[in-house]
């Protein structure tokens, strides 16, 4: 694994180089630990990105339309860990991808303008495909474990 990680960075080290207790081997191990952590974070962020997008699509499909703050509350209530700094750029990107469309609305009596999002046709077509792909992946993983 350690050799593999280094290989990813274009470096080739033999196991014997890091199996002794010298200063440079300690330094190499430290670098590898950081790299392992970074690659895990990267993997997690990639996994979360797709997962959160699916969550937003599912929620909007159910609720028809919603705005940022409401979506944040609904997702958090459903146990999805997401904050403002992730949700708003995510909505922005999904709109750019043409999965969502948005419209600014101000309540007639009182209140401030809010940006309401809803699924557009492309998003509606995509949702069942994404759900099925996600469920399939989950099933494969369960099968592998058994």
């Amino acid at each position: 694994m350690q050799v593999l990680v280094l290989r990813e960075c274009g470096l080739l080290f033999h196991d014997s180089w890091i199996n002794n207790n010298t200063l440079h081997s300690k330094a190499l191990l430290f670098i590898m630990r950081i790299m392992n952590e970074n690659t895990y974070q990267k993997w997690l962020s990639q996994l979360r990105k797709g997962y959160l997008e699916l969550c937003v699509l599912v929620m909007l499909n159910k609720k028809q339309r919603s705005y940022g703050f409401e979506m944040l509350q609904l997702l958090n209530q459903a146990g999805v860990e997401i904050n403002e700094g992730t949700l708003y750029p995510l909505l922005n990107r999904m709109e750019k991808n043409n999965w969502l469309s948005s419209v600014w609305e101000t309540p007639t009596l009182s209140g401030h303008p809010r940006r309401f999002y809803e699924l557009n046709n492309e998003g509606k077509e995509l949702l069942p495909k994404m759900q099925s792909a996600f469920e399939q992946s989950s099933q494969f993983l369960t099968q592998l474990k058994e």
Partner: protein, 266 residues
């Protein structure tokens, strides 16, 4: 960092986005502030400004304030340099055009520069043997009804042994209404409205004709020279013997070698 400062910083960091998109993002965050309450810190909720901006930007590079300043400064400086260079080039072109012009329109026979003044003009009586020789000079030749040879030059010019020999000088010369013998070598020669016959021999020179209203009969013998088409010519050409019309009573005989014969233009 206050919420206002946070929004300002975010707006700056999103500088590479289109204005409309940037404004929409800021407006949405402002709307979110109103939902959560003004007392909440945006930095706590949304995280580091640059990290948030990077999420919005995706592949678009983050607008670095310093880069933008440097970019703006560089583009302004380049624009100023460009304008300055353009002005200098225009001024140089105007100066070159101005300097390349003649001192006045030599074809204008009523020009004040031609007004006779004893102090500035020199004069001598004319004889049949009088010749004008021009070397490495610019000379404008006019004709007048006096039996004298009159000249005005940039530098002192003497008349010696029946010969006006102009060398490395700029002169205006008036010839009498007699046959004139003119020889020019590496010179610029301008003939304005000839009133009498002239025999001109030029070598490596430029001869320009300002005929004005004169109808002239040209006899041009040119070798390795460029000869323009003259209004009074019918069959102008190199080594051609041309008679432009029966009514012409002034004959200009030109022998040219490695020279150009053309119309005078101011």
């Amino acid at each position: 960092m206050s919420n206002q400062q946070y929004l300002k910083a975010l707006k700056r960091a999103l500088g590479n986005l289109k204005k409309h998109n940037r404004d929409e993002i800021i407006k949405e965050i402002q709307s979110h502030i109103q939902d959560i309450g003004e007392s909440e810190s945006l930095e706590n909720k949304f995280g580091n400004v640059n990290t948030l901006a990077k999420k919005y930007l995706g592949d678009v590079p983050l607008a670095h304030p310093l880069h933008r300043k440097v970019g703006r400064f560089a583009s302004k400086t380049m624009a100023i340099i460009g304008i300055f260079v353009l002005i200098v080039l225009t001024a140089l072109a105007a100066l070159a055009w101005y300097w390349s012009q003649d001192a006045f329109n030599y074809a204008d026979e009523s020009s004040k520069q031609l007004t006779y003044n004893k102090n500035s003009w020199q004069k001598t009586s004319w004889s049949e043997l009088t010749t004008v020789e021009i070397d490495q000079s610019q000379v404008v030749l006019y004709w007048h009804k006096e039996d004298t040879l009159r000249w005005k030059c940039a530098r002192e010019q003497s008349f010696d042994q029946g010969k006006l020999h102009i060398k490395q000088n700029n002169c205006l010369v008036y010839l009498p209404m007699h046959l004139s013998m003119i020889r020019a070598d590496q010179a610029r020669l301008i003939l304005v409205h000839p009133l009498a016959d002239a025999t001109i021999n030029i070598t490596q020179s430029q001869l320009q004709m300002a005929e004005n209203t004169a109808i002239l009969s040209y006899q041009i013998n040119a070798e390795r020279s460029e000869v323009a088409k003259f209004q009074s010519d019918i069959n102008s050409g190199i080594n051609s013997d041309i008679n432009s019309g029966n009514s012409a009573d002034v004959k200009i005989a030109i022998t040219s070698f490695e020279s150009s014969i053309e119309h005078y233009k101011y």
